[in-house]
Symmetry: C2
């Protein structure tokens, strides 16, 4: 069930977002509390030979977005999920394959997220993500807020 959801989401991302295809993104792992995206360096390289900041920003943001989307789908919720704002820190260059890992920010809970979604048909959540360099140290970090909006709520509000 979960495997099917992961593969379906990966196919959708690659089909619907040309830049995800250009980055050669794949969903490498998903657990209820974290998601890992992978992308090879070659299509994501910059003028200095390391990972392009735009690829890092995109993959970090998508690793968070995909985590929220999969949690919602696994719970049978039909929502649109949007990124609201984010903070990025580029701490060190990334010279190899890009592995973006996301998880819930401290102080956030899935129970609280789903409870608010249940009562308001809309909910918010802060997610953290990071890319490590070859030695395992964090090279790029993202701290972002996402909004989920039930599709039924959206159409009846429109």
């Amino acid at each position: 069930m979960t495997e099917a959801l992961i593969h379906a989401l990966e196919r959708e991302i690659l089909a619907d977002i040309p830049l995800a295809r250009a980055m050669q993104l794949q969903i490498a792992a998903y657990q209820p509390d974290g998601l890992t995206l992978l992308a090879p360096l070659a299509p994501n390289i910059n003028d200095k030979g390391c990972a392009f900041g735009g690829s890092l920003a995109s993959l970090l943001t998508l690793s968070c977005w995909a985590l929220v989307v999969l949690r919602l789908r696994a719970a049978g919720e039909d929502c649109d999920v949007y990124v609201q704002d984010s903070q990025l820190r580029y701490l060190a260059p990334v010279w190899g394959e890009i592995r973006a890992e996301s998880r819930l920010a401290e102080g956030e809970s899935w129970d609280g997220f789903f409870a608010m979604l249940g009562s308001r048909s809309k909910s918010r959540l802060r997610i953290l993500a990071g890319v490590a360099d070859g030695s395992g140290k964090l090279a790029t970090t993202l701290d972002a807020r996402f909004v989920a909006l039930r599709r039924e709520a959206k159409s009846s509000a429109a």
Copy 2:
């Protein structure tokens, strides 16, 4: 002279950064105090039919980076320029061509930037950028810090 620098930088970006080619980025305008990047919607679309957040983040960041690089080159400085951190706000969807415009943040000055570069061979600068929606209202904003490092300084430090 300036036109030649602009075209040379655009060629370099497109040659060295595969994702910039995928986004079909072009430098549309450069003045000493601001730079505009353009990209069509089609290669930068997302699953909802509007501009992909990763494309917006990439184009906003590159509009700032290119502004700093062109100012440095116009002054005869040979530097590497890195983004250090950034804050992005996604305020509204972008449904058409993406136009990312950058300018110096308040409280920053090019004179101060070049003075520090002259004395330390390294300097920092905060740049703002925005993408407007079809009606001219800001749809996405970026506030980012960049570091410029003279290449000679870098090699002698390595």
